[in-house]
């Protein structure tokens, strides 16, 4: 089976590998967002599984229990759980990433309890006192998970897990470097498949997949210059190719992102500290989700630079011609962060298109006009 076929299978049949592992006696721990250190789960001999929704299935069951004006991503995930599509999870872990996910923890646990359930209290402010607090929270999480797993957390195994995940991070950065070429050697649609495919399988297996995919991409002939605009994507959950495929089909290359299904979960390594918990805290506390706040710095210009400087560097290094904000509807944190980021990027001469969408593939026709007009504007 070619590597792309293998990725397609993992991307379309999410959960198949986790079910197999479970049948073989492994325990699978489902988790939300990019604040849960998979390293701890892996070091305890458990399989982490990132919970995703389905943009291709209507939300029906969940709306009998929830109001429809809540985050459609969270509702979609819960909808799948209610329909028994996450019955293979032995554990359910939610971080207090945003208020929706925090409440979702309680609702999920009441309606579809797993043998193990845990909420990690993640501080909102990135600062020294938060680091200390979060470290305690991670110890508490690890302790609860030890009881569930019936074994003690071996710090050497945790260090090994840190190195394993850092290896995957390095490979994913290597893959992203192939997007810097003009035109990029790999499409945004393919990248999304590779990333989503990895969310439901052990990191060691994903490493093999990414390695093989990079080898395949490197053998591709250099694409001919096409002059198409290069797009930077900012937003939250894009776990389906539909939107990125739409942007690319309108005549553009999606080359870089700041998404929780993209760079946000893998870009920075976990530093290899003496106490591995220190390294975990450093990486996971500073996840660039807009629900986290960087302490305010100086005046407005300094503050914007302090908060968004990394995005300016991403856009510059990947030669972006425009930025598209893709915000899942009712995501307050993104919607409140968007205007500041738009102001900052516009100052950097990077045009911005802000889109709010329903986390559904049925809205693509309506989005097409906006994307076309934006691409015509920046051409």
């Amino acid at each position: 089976m070619s590597i792309m076929k293998q990725i397609e299978a993992l991307y379309t049949q999410r959960g198949v590998r986790a079910r197999e592992l479970r049948q073989a006696g492994e325990k699978v721990i489902g988790y939300f967002c990019c604040f849960v250190p998979e390293e701890i789960i892996t070091a305890l001999g458990l399989i982490p599984f990132r919970i995703q929704g389905s943009q291709r299935e209507p939300i029906d069951e969940a709306d009998t229990l929830l109001e429809p004006m809540a985050c459609p991503f969270a509702r979609s995930c819960f909808n799948m759980a209610l329909k028994g599509q996450y019955e293979f999870l032995d554990g359910f872990v939610a971080p207090h990433s945003c208020d929706t996910i925090e409440r979702m923890y309680h609702i999920w646990r009441s309606n579809t309890p797993s043998p193990f359930n845990h909420l990690i209290n993640v501080p909102h402010m990135m600062g020294p006192s938060s680091a200390e607090f979060y470290k305690n929270e991670l110890h508490y999480f690890a302790g609860c998970l030890e009881t569930f797993a019936g074994r003690k957390l071996d710090l050497e195994k945790l260090r090994q897990a840190v190195r394993l995940y850092n290896r995957r991070r390095a490979l994913l950065r290597e893959l992203y470097a192939l997007r810097k070429a003009v035109p990029p050697r790999v499409s945004g649609t393919e990248i999304t498949k590779v990333l989503v495919a990895g969310m439901g399988i052990p990191a060691a297996e994903h490493i093999d997949v990414v390695r093989a995919f990079i080898d395949e991409v490197q053998q591709r002939p250099a694409p001919r210059p096409d002059g198409l605009p290069r797009i930077f994507l900012w937003g939250n959950e894009i776990d389906d190719i539909a939107f990125i495929e739409l942007v690319e089909s309108c005549g553009a290359h999606v080359v870089m992102d700041d998404l929780c299904t993209g760079t946000r979960f893998f870009w920075e390594d976990v530093p290899e500290t003496d106490d591995p918990f220190d390294g975990l805290v450093q990486k996971y506390l500073c996840t660039h989700c807009p629900r986290s706040l960087v302490p305010q710095a100086g005046g407005r210009a300094d503050d914007l630079e302090n908060r968004f400087g990394y995005i300016r560097e991403f856009a510059a290094q990947w030669k972006a011609d425009g930025a598209i904000f893709y915000i899942v509807r009712y995501c307050d944190t993104c919607e409140l962060e968007g205007p500041d980021l738009k102001e900052y990027l516009t100052q950097q001469k990077l045009p911005v298109l802000m889109i709010e969408d329903d986390y559904s593939t049925t809205t693509m026709g309506q989005l097409r006009t906006r994307i076309q007009a934006f691409l015509e504007m920046i051409a």
Partner: protein
């Protein structure tokens, strides 16, 4: 298509109607409009056939064509497709070179765009999935009041005590309108209230793209004098309206087709 002739076509496949226009040496040779109905392809074929006949040419006589609008993908011709925002921008620029802000009130969406002195888009915004600011709202009100859509504008201008709408949602406004009728409000006052509510939505969009004079109101909304007045009052300036506002995007598409051939 024949490269020696000088006819260019613009086809705008909108949500409510399909519009076609033929340019001959930068002058409008023929134009037409037909309801989109449930079949974009058939409507497009029909209106193109009509305008070609009116211009006295065959489709082979066209040197170029641009297709735009929500239904552009189902166009039965292999022609370049551009967004209707670019086409409106180009059309308004050709009609009013002083235009810097464009408001397109169409059947499904309202769009606001700021354009450069050269007629290309500087920034734009579209109304979200909400009918309040779009022509759809007027269609709903027209049906409840049993007043044909083309009579809405003139009647609204006769209002003496415009009704205040407490909601900004077209669906709720429907029930609110019915309550007001029951309370004895005059149709003219109800319509003026509807126009004010729509103008408030439009104002929000325009302010977000940063208003710059002159402002052109195009699309079906431009044919409604009451709406044009309400938008002008909301923005505090005089609004320019093309002679045939619904044909602006088709006109812009034809202009872009002609420009494309020249370069």
């Amino acid at each position: 298509m024949n490269a020696d002739s000088r006819y260019f076509a613009g086809l705008d496949m909108g949500s409510v109607s399909v519009k076609a226009l033929i340019l001959q040496n930068d002058r409008v040779a023929a134009s037409g409009l037909t309801p989109a109905g449930g079949n974009y392809k058939a409507a497009a074929a029909k209106v193109m056939e009509e305008v070609l006949a009116r211009a006295g040419i065959a489709s082979d006589d066209l040197s170029g064509m641009v297709v735009t609008g929500l239904g552009a993908q189902s166009a039965p011709w292999d022609a370049p497709q551009l967004s209707d925002i670019s086409c409106h921008a180009r059309g308004c620029h050709a009609l009013f070179p002083s235009a810097r802000t464009i408001i397109d009130i169409g059947g499904q969406f309202t769009k606001a765009a700021r354009i450069t002195p050269q007629g290309s888009i500087a920034d734009f915004l579209m109304s979200e999935k909400c009918a309040t600011g779009s022509g759809r709202f007027l269609q709903v009100i027209s049906r409840i009041l049993h007043i044909p859509i083309e009579e809405i504008g003139p009647l609204s201008l006769q209002a003496q005590h415009p009704v205040e709408f407490s909601t900004n949602c077209a669906v709720f406004a429907e029930s609110e309108t019915i309550s007001r009728i029951a309370e004895g409000a005059r149709p003219a006052d109800i319509l003026a209230g509807v126009h004010r509510a729509m103008a408030a939505k439009v104002k929000m969009l325009v302010k977000r793209v940063k208003l710059e004079a002159d402002v052109v109101l195009t699309g079906g909304g431009g044919e409604d004098a009451g709406l044009v007045q309400a938008v002008g009052q909301a923005l505090g300036l005089t609004i320019l309206v093309p002679e045939n506002p619904r044909l602006t995007a088709a006109f812009g598409a034809a202009c872009l087709a002609a420009e494309h051939k020249r370069t």
